[in-house]
Symmetry: C2
Subunit: 343 residues, 2 copies
């Protein structure tokens, strides 16, 4: 059965398509009676507006693109949850893509999203991405972008991040206050922006407490489980840390797994294990993980809000109600510690 269109309704009711269109969207300049007639008939024949045509005509889709490294990562799925909720309440819809940490796929995806004319883009960069030319090139074509979590260093973009400096600082400080001095840190590859922040937080905590910084206690790991495993093995064997801090969702699980193995084997004493993690069973593990929890849901909803606000600001601007150009925003969300374990 073919779709009913506005024209069909117009013909059936003996009026012009424009009248029907106006009636359907509740234009103020329409006779209440006509409106009712149209609405009733539309209902009867099961009319559904065609968003595609509408988008073409209005040059906007009310769709947002979301690009993340991995949907099924706990952290990202929570972020997406936040994005989807905010978008839904503001009348936007969400298209989701994953890069699997591949730069090529990211590039391709962003282009597709642009071709689909999404109104805006929310993106967390792939592990391979080092510059953002493939994204910012669309800026001039009116594609608004908000970066979150894995953001570029660039100062001229809008971003929502977690205060990793503070998160690591707090965890390290907690360790020190509990008498630990040899604290191992497992983090992302050294050239990434966020890694620097984390290292800085760690270093500052040591410094504030007069503890020497020991390079050997720092391990840089990529996304492969064996990297975390090897790091833990080496730390346990050669340095016997009095505590561990891990700085990313996957990394935390992979490291903890090996830590537990070493613990069971009697190779390491039972020491506190801190991890950036959003799994909801940290307290059920044995030993429990002390979690540095990132406000994932909030990160998503804030980013979406930022984006939609920007879009609607642009609309207003377009209508001539131009104000000062908004400066690039960097929202920094606080982590919080969840202490499930004390020695």
């Amino acid at each position: 059965m073919a779709d009913v269109t506005i024209k069909d309704i117009a013909t059936a009711l003996g009026m012009a398509a424009s009248t029907v269109s106006r009636a359907l969207r509740g234009s103020y300049e329409i006779n209440e009676k006509t409106r009712a007639r149209v609405e009733e008939y539309a209902q009867k024949v099961n009319y559904r507006r065609n968003t595609v045509a509408q988008s073409l005509r209005e040059k906007r889709t009310r769709a947002l693109g979301v690009v993340v490294p991995e949907i099924s990562n706990n952290f990202f799925s929570e972020v997406i949850n936040g994005i989807e909720d905010e978008a839904f309440t503001r009348g936007y819809q969400v298209m989701i893509f994953q890069t699997h940490e591949s730069f090529e796929r990211e590039k391709q995806t962003v282009q597709q999203l642009y071709e689909r004319r999404v109104d805006g883009l929310l993106i967390s960069l792939s592990g391979q991405t080092t510059d953002i030319e493939h994204i910012s090139r669309y800026k001039k074509d009116d594609l608004s972008v908000i970066y979150f979590d894995r953001v570029p260093e660039d100062e001229n973009v809008d971003k929502v991040v977690v205060d990793s400096f503070e998160g690591v600082y707090q965890a390290a400080t907690w360790m020190i206050q509990n008498g630990k001095r040899k604290i191992a840190l497992l983090t992302s590859p050294p050239d990434i922006y966020i890694t620097k922040k984390r290292l800085a937080g760690y270093a500052k905590a040591l410094e504030d407490n007069g503890i020497d910084y020991d390079e050997k206690l720092i391990k840089y790991c990529g996304f492969e489980p064996w990297e975390a495993h090897d790091a833990i093995k080496d730390l346990v064997k050669n340095h016997q840390p009095e505590g561990f801090i891990t700085c990313a969702d996957r990394l935390t699980i992979d490291s903890y797994e090996e830590f537990k193995k070493q613990l069971t084997a009697g190779n390491t004493p039972l020491v506190p294990f801190f991890g950036f993690t959003n799994i909801n069973v940290a307290h059920l593990l044995d030993p429990p993980i002390n979690a540095i929890v990132q406000p994932a849901y909030e990160m998503g909803s804030r980013a979406a809000k930022l984006l939609i606000d920007k879009l609607e600001y642009n609309d207003r601007k377009h209508l001539g109600n131009r104000r000062t150009v908004p400066l690039p925003v960097e929202e920094k969300l606080k982590t919080h510690l969840v202490i499930n374990f004390t020695t």
Copy 2:
């Protein structure tokens, strides 16, 4: 900067829009030289095709709608992962929505998806949904639908499910073989289709081993944590089960949490705990959960494949190459047990 259109290119190159269009899509009836010229120029001015216009014209969007109760549920995010991967390799894009277990939101979402003219729909029903008129009404308007996981009983729809009968049967059998006879079962509300399957698997395992079925060991729980908590408390207090089986992702975590509390309090002996769960840390818990693992990723990719195959079959049909009408498909995927714990 305004978008470059096919017309723009045509004007600039002094040819007709139709020629440019053909050249761009590599039509066979175009001069190689013209093609090269067009391509080069398009590249130069950074032309991107407008998918919206294309969709309107071609009456198809190459987009799929996905509706799940909760994105951030581990199981569903894995399913989505599978869907997205399959869709991506076949050239489709994915719009994702969540119902938060609300029927109203499900209805509204499906309508929006229809209005957006997605080519097909993949859906796992909300907890409140009892009939599917709000979905199947679009069937006649050419919206293909595949149900997965939480599917309707209806025999005339395509669906991909997990073999819950078999999953529960295996878990219960394992228990019995390990000498347990009083096995508690925590499952979804009794009127749901899938609940019946699960109960049947449980009952069959008992029957095959000559054990009496005891109604009191069965608990029906909704989505609220306290329901699981209360169920466990009651079971422990009044029946002292020799083992537990829980039948849904959330339910497993909530139940386990209370089970562990009761265990620590010394109210229950250490007994095997089986759960339908896709968390990747089941083996790290203490005591470990024995997992009935659902092939979530595969469920997603199978469902997406089914849908896209159907769409492309429809296309062929449309071209006159009609064959026999395909019958409704029910794909049943096997669970597998992961034994992390034995008494």
